[in-house]
């Protein structure tokens, strides 16, 4: 694994290393949600939520789809939650 790749992997793990962002990913498990819905679903305020969503999209963990004045967010791929499951599984040990 090259130094660059290593940095990219770390960047993505770091994005997952924040309870607020895991809560967002969890809220997206049932499908696409707009920011307002995520505000309710996660308890985060609008500005904070927007920041975390930026991190998650920048690292390719969630997708962004703009529709009128709404922006819909969703999981970028199925692997994302797979990672969380594996990590949860590890906790039992």
């Amino acid at each position: 694994m090259t130094e660059v790749t290593l940095g990219l992997v770390a960047e993505r793990f770091k994005a997952l290393g924040e309870p607020a962002r895991l809560r967002i990913l969890q809220a997206l498990c049932d499908g696409e949600r707009c920011v307002g819905e995520l505000e309710e679903g996660t308890g985060l305020n609008q500005a904070n939520l927007s920041r975390h969503l930026q991190v998650l999209t920048a690292t390719g963990l969630v997708k962004r789809r703009k529709e009128g004045q709404f922006v819909h967010y969703s999981h970028a791929d199925s692997q994302v939650m797979r990672l969380c499951e594996v990590m949860c599984g590890r906790l039992k040990n």
Copy 2:
């Protein structure tokens, strides 16, 4: 997923979210290594390495085995590198 579990998962992801620690985990892929060997294998200096090893053991990602004046570190379980592999796989998209 409870709030506590979520915190624990985040803590572990955060531990992986640092290039230096990924380098350590990579160096441990071939088996147990003592701190001095890891110093060579990773290019980190002794104090810094020791700190990172503390994070990795505290989060249950590596195991610590003391033998005389040497301390041997190794992967805590096979799932750890599995997580890295999955994350690497994601990078290709």
